[in-house]
């Protein structure tokens, strides 16, 4: 649905990374982990298009002025261009236009499996709302978080507060182990697990190959340039596993995803 929202808070977590909370209609309370929103940061034509963000958290809060619980949505974002720079300048009370919830979310899997979350950089964002849902079901959850340096590792304490066991790897070793998060992950993979991953494409490709090698089911959440978020512009497509020029099989990240089973996609 399309709705007007108000910024509740917009906090810088580490250099260039922000966490923003916005008001939302009650219906958003049933959003699934892995779904996303499209946000129009300004009414002007520059930037023109909306920007997509995974749902970092959805919940309710008590306002000072009344007793009924109000719904909020949160996003975690990195300032990378003009749109996100303008977003980072918004304050409590500013209005924005949202489309949400969009896309297909994570399927939570079977009871009793160990749930393995793998996040790279800002790809950690949709995994927090997922972790909350999994923990609420009584599942054992482990998080593997990777980034270039310690500034890229976000909200680890929030995950730990949920009871999630966390593992961190950074390229420069400023936090956790030095190296790729996939190297740490591989040491802990085994039967009876299910993987949920979000991050840059090379990381997702590595995770998906690793999952296949260990026979562990794996869902990935993709990020892509998109104009509309509703399956019309066809800007955000990814080739499906059997895609070829003769038998085209493009999937829309916005509508068919952003969450896919890793075997559905063609990994170059």
């Amino acid at each position: 649905m399309q709705f007007k929202s108000m910024v509740i808070s917009n906090v810088e977590l580490s250099p260039c990374y922000f966490r923003m909370r916005m008001t939302a209609p009650q219906d958003l309370g049933t959003s699934l982990p892995g779904q996303f929103l499209m946000l129009k940061v300004t009414e002007s034509i520059d930037p023109l298009l909306r920007r997509p963000f995974g749902l970092f958290d959805v919940g309710t809060f008590q306002a000072e002025y009344d007793e009924t619980p109000h719904t909020y949505v949160e996003i975690l974002y990195k300032v990378v261009g003009k749109g996100t720079r303008m977003l980072s300048a918004l304050h409590h009370g500013d209005g924005i236009d949202l489309l949400a919830p969009l896309g297909k979310g994570f399927r939570l899997g079977e009871k009793g499996e160990e749930k393995i979350l793998v996040g790279g950089g800002v790809g950690l964002a949709p995994l927090y709302y997922l972790a909350k849902a999994l923990v609420a079901q009584g599942e054992k959850v482990r998080l593997f978080a990777g980034g270039r340096n310690r500034d890229d590792i976000l909200c680890i304490t929030e995950f730990e507060r949920l009871g999630v066991e966390t593992y961190v790897a950074t390229d420069d070793g400023t936090l956790g182990e030095q190296g790729f998060v996939t190297e740490v992950l591989e040491k802990h993979l085994g039967a009876g697990q299910r993987i949920f991953a979000c991050g840059p494409m090379p990381m997702l490709g590595a995770v998906s190959r690793m999952a296949e090698a260990h026979g562990v089911p794996c869902q990935v959440s993709l990020e892509a340039y998109m104009a509309c978020g509703v399956g019309a512009c066809l800007g955000c497509v990814m080739p499906g596993a059997n895609h070829s020029d003769q038998t085209p099989d493009y999937r829309c990240v916005c509508k068919d995803g952003p969450v896919f089973d890793s075997f559905e996609l063609k990994w170059s």
């Binding site: 023109l48 019309a232 955000c236 497509v237 085209p248």
Partner: protein, 305 residues
């Protein structure tokens, strides 16, 4: 005051208001049903169809530019058979005219697609996209050569009894001569403009941003070019014109009507506001009401110039 009369007619297609959805920006209609009332707009134009399904280009396919966006989707579509089997049944139940946009990779393919649609219930008319390369003749774009465009339009004319709109490319030296050529070849109406060819570069990586290198520019950035072309064509060709190019609100739409358009198409605006087409129709009506104008058709070509 009573409500203004918003109805218009283009090439025999009767519409409740002048707002149509531009091809390639509105999917096959159903994608937008959650965001607007499909029966509140004048007509829907579906994503460009070819004879066979088309994969389209590799990604990145889109990039935002100041006041606009470049796209190089590569005409990805489900193909005519899947459209008729899977998309048209839904559209038939919507009480809004459906115009099917089509293109061919060869001259013959244009004729084949048009004849497949001829006589199909639920298809109010066709819009011919001539801005595609002619595969057989070394990739010369049909829509930038008056003779090639005329051949396409003549063939499609022979292949269908449906109202035929020809969508003109702005990437030409003289849009009026293209318009005249298409009119002579039997077009019932002209829609303009298609996207302007453009390019975006990533300085740091020293690479083009789009995988296809070049793409089509759309959005508010192209509105002045579109207005100028609509105005020029309207002065020189008797056919009804559908104005397209960066229309974001009701005022933009009415400007196109003053320049000579009978109807307009909403394109890129639907990407950032999926309810844009309905909103724009409402804003047009509001403007008429506020200014005591009784019928929207009285504004067609009413520019003081």
């Amino acid at each position: 005051m009573h409500k203004p009369d918003m109805s218009v007619e283009v090439a025999g297609i009767k519409m409740r208001n002048p707002v149509m959805t531009a091809s390639g920006t509105f999917g096959y209609g159903a994608e937008f049903a959650d965001y607007l009332d499909l029966e509140s707009i004048g007509a829907m134009i579906t994503k460009g169809l070819s004879l066979k399904p088309k994969a389209g280009n590799p990604t990145p396919r889109i990039v935002e530019t100041p006041g606009g966006m470049l796209n190089a989707i590569g005409l990805q579509n489900v193909g005519i058979d899947a459209f008729i089997a899977e998309k048209l049944p839904y559209l038939k139940n919507v009480q809004t005219p459906v115009v099917v946009n089509l293109y061919g990779n060869t001259l013959e393919e244009y004729g084949e697609v048009a004849s497949r649609l001829d006589g199909l219930p639920g298809v109010a008319g066709i819009e011919v996209n001539i801005s595609c390369p002619n595969v057989k003749q070394g990739g010369i774009v049909f829509g930038t050569d008056p003779k090639a465009a005329q051949e396409v339009v003549r063939l499609v004319r022979k292949s269908t009894t449906k109202p035929m709109i020809v969508k003109l490319s702005p990437n030409v030296t003289d849009v009026v001569s293209m318009a005249i050529a298409c009119a002579e070849a039997g077009a019932d109406a002209l829609s303009l403009i298609n996207t302007l060819t453009g390019m975006a570069i990533d300085l740091d990586r020293r690479r083009p941003i789009l995988a296809n290198v070049t793409g089509g520019l759309s959005g508010p950035a192209i509105k002045p070019v579109a207005l100028r072309m609509v105005w020029q064509v309207a002065k020189n060709v008797k056919l009804p014109i559908i104005g397209i190019g960066g229309i974001m609100n009701g005022r933009d739409a009415l400007e196109f009507m003053l320049a000579g358009a009978t109807a307009i198409q909403v394109g890129t605006a639907s990407f950032l506001d999926p309810g844009a087409a309905q909103r724009i129709a409402r804003e047009m009506e509001q403007y008429l009401t506020e200014n005591g104008i009784e019928s929207v058709s009285s504004l067609i070509g009413a520019l003081n110039a």
